[in-house]
Amino acid sequence: MSVVETTRRGEVTVRDLSKSFTLNGQRLNVLRDLHLDVQGGEALAIVGPSGCGKTTLLRVLAGLESPDRGEVLIDGHPVQGVGTERAIIFQEPRLLPWLTVLGNVAFGLEVRGTSRAEAETRARHYIRLVGLAEFESAFPRQLSGGMAQRVGIARALTVQPEILLLDEPLGALDAMTKLTMQEELARIWREEKVTTILVTHDLEEAIYLADRVLVLPRQKGATPRLIVVNLTRPRDRSDPRFVEMRRRLMAEFGLQ
């Protein structure tokens, strides 16, 4: 059945994951014995105070860092380094300044050996999806911050990953652009049905976009908590249940 297939695709399992860093001779346990199951097609947000290890967790999932202990399974297979079934959207757009928007979006496919013509055809589709069709031949330095980040998103989507990893993708944008981009991300997620793991420090963004929110605690001993966001989509920020959810999440961090 196709249902089985779709739920299998893009499944992430984290088992007993531990990761520490040595800073000035001191050992810092960033992540300890973390368990996590993310279903295919789910949107998970990871929130927590700075230094709680949320970006580290994402980098381990991406294969950019290897864990000290434990493992990450994707669709049942252990992760070894970066893989083509995952795509990462960084906080900065990380566009190649010498390529046009089209060249940048096609870049991910081209480096995997797809022919330029085919890569560009697929790139055009996603450039349209993020609403930049008119800017195909623009260079990155001609784009505003929000537009550049959309190019980064289109580039990640073009390789059609099973799992999309986002590391505070809207963190550097101004408040207005941020709201627009959150709506855009919600729409893209709805259309693409890709497993999404989003690191953010914005609690409202987490509730707006995610099915579940993983709260990483400030104290290293405490256990992480998973909160299910049981709200219908598209979500309304002024909905009393949304507001209540935000209050609950803020309470997790001792905020009023």
Partner: protein, 279 residues
């Protein structure tokens, strides 16, 4: 959302401009030219007038018209053509060799840390050793002919290119390399698609520096042991007290330098359309 278009000028009205508008534009253009070249023209005018009226010694600084006449006679009459050709050949060969060796070697050295670390001290040592001080060594090794002249220019032009290329490769944004790696790009692909294009602006800095150095060393090498070439003509004219000819040769050398720089700037504009060229 903002979108600034590349190299677009302010919108120009389609209707034919009125006489007053044309005049205004002409005045504005003249003002720009005056700001940029006014001082140069003032200097040249002072030279011409001062030399003609005897404010400055006309035997050392002949009037400009005499220098220009000597230049014209040298180029059109053919007396300097041979010298220009041999000078171009020497500096061109040396520069081409420096580019041919410096860029590939620099790209390689910048990539591989161990190689760069092992070669850096010796590079710094050679770089700080004046090429002119080594010229006698090259003459001993290669004789007083063309080989030693080309080699001393090559030697001096190699280092700016090499060091600029290494610097360019080392300063490529790690985040861009990481981005390419997350898309599954191999090391070779990252080198070709990210590292190489990213180091082009830095390489051009080296190329322009090297072009200037090439002409500097050309003159020095031709003054020491040559019987042809523009550098030789400067010396020779001075010995024979043909001061206008001396300045004519100097003028031609300056023109050569300006042309080389202009060519490189044009090439850079074409290759680095994406980078900000305002500086």
């Amino acid at each position: 959302m903002t979108f600034q278009s590349l190299g677009s000028s302010p919108t120009v009205s389609v209707e034919a401009p009125s006489g007053a508008a044309l005049l205004r534009r002409g005045v504005a253009g003249a003002g720009r030219a005056l700001r940029r070249y006014g001082l140069l023209f003032g200097f040249l005018a002072f030279w011409q007038v001062g030399s003609s009226l005897g404010w400055i010694n006309p035997t050392v600084f002949p009037p400009l018209d005499k220098i220009l006449a000597a230049t014209w006679a040298g180029v059109v009459g053919g007396a300097f053509l041979d010298d220009i050709a041999i000078s171009l050949q020497r500096s061109g060969l040396a520069f081409a060799a420096a580019v041919g060796l410096g860029i590939p070697l620099g790209l390689f050295m910048g990539q591989i840390r161990a190689v760069e670390q092992a070669l850096d001290p010796i590079l710094q040592f050679f770089r700080q050793t004046s090429a002119l001080a080594l010229y006698p060594v090259f003459i001993l090794l290669l004789g007083l002919g063309e080989a030693s002249k080309v080699f001393v220019i090559f030697w001096a032009t190699l280092f700016p290119i090499l060091l600029a290329t290494i610097g360019g490769v080392k300063e490529v944004d790690r985040k861009l390399i990481e981005m390419a790696a997350t898309f599954g790009a191999s090391r070779a692909t990252i080198f070709r698609r990210v590292v190489q294009p990213a180091s082009v602006p830095s390489i051009f800095v080296g190329l322009r520096l090297s072009a200037t150095t090439a002409l500097l060393l050309l003159v020095a090498a031709e003054m020491i042991g040559a019987n042809r070439g523009l550098g030789f003509q400067v010396m020779n004219a001075q010995y024979n007290f043909q001061i206008p000819q001396m300045f004519a040769a100097i003028l031609l050398l300056a023109a050569l330098g300006l042309t080389a720089n202009a060519l490189l700037v044009t090439l850079q504009r074409r290759l680095c359309r994406w980078a900000d060229l305002s500086h």
